[in-house]
Amino acid sequence: MFAAATLALLVAMALALARALLGPTVYDRVLAVNSFGTKTVLLIAVFGFLTGRPDFLDISLIYALINFIATIAVLKFLKFGDLGTRGHLPETDEEVAE
């Protein structure tokens, strides 16, 4: 039954990868890669049980952390064009005019 879950996850990962390749905007690609990462976390966890080695869960946990940090970093880079800024965007139209 672990094999069925693994197969379903692989199909879902292929679909997410197709969306990441198709685009059309960069936000579609970021969303697809984030979703792909979540499915990878699940795949590593299920694969650990499939091969009878649940120690893989540590890798899965670290992958979840890295996936989140990577998504936020890419989005910050897209928003500011720089990872070192303080992170303030203009909120109102007056601030935009300045």
Binding site: M1, F2, A4, A5, L7, A8, L9, V11, A12, M13, A14, L15, A16, A18, R19, L22, T25, Y27, D28, V30, L31, A32, N34, S35, T38, K39, V41, L42, A45, V46, F49, P54, L57, D58, S60, L61, A64, L65, N67, F68, T71, I72, L75, L78, K79, L89
Partner: protein, 114 residues
């Protein structure tokens, strides 16, 4: 008793896998970014939740289950955060959501004006 837990765990694993595939299909087929976020949400909540619950039943009361629970809690906290950041970044950049009738809304949310 053992067989009952196995059956419950298999049901959870298979339905979680099915929800993952549904989320993947939505990611591929829905019309714009904001709609696709909705599909990605299915994978992050129901797909991950059911699969991890199925694995937890297999693990029993051990450290394995604690780790699985930690992964589940972490996914449930991070996936709304990254979805919010993505939607916020896309909207601030001026990517208008598709409204009913297939016309993209302008920045004020009024679909009658282009």
């Amino acid at each position: 008793m053992e067989i009952l837990i196995d059956i419950a765990s298999w049901a959870l694993l298979v339905s979680g896998g099915a929800f993952c595939v549904i989320g993947g299909l939505g990611l591929l087929r829905l019309p714009d970014v904001y709609a696709r976020m909705h599909a990605a949400g299915i994978t992050d909540t129901l797909g991950a939740g059911l699969i991890l619950a199925g694995l937890m039943l297999q693990g029993g009361l051990t450290l394995v289950t604690a780790k699985l629970f930690l992964i589940l809690v972490f996914l449930l906290y991070t996936s709304p955060t990254s979805t919010y950041a993505l939607a916020n970044a896309a909207y601030r950049r001026g990517l208008a959501p598709l409204l009913g009738g297939g016309t993209p809304a302008n920045k004020d949310g009024d679909s009658s004006k282009p």
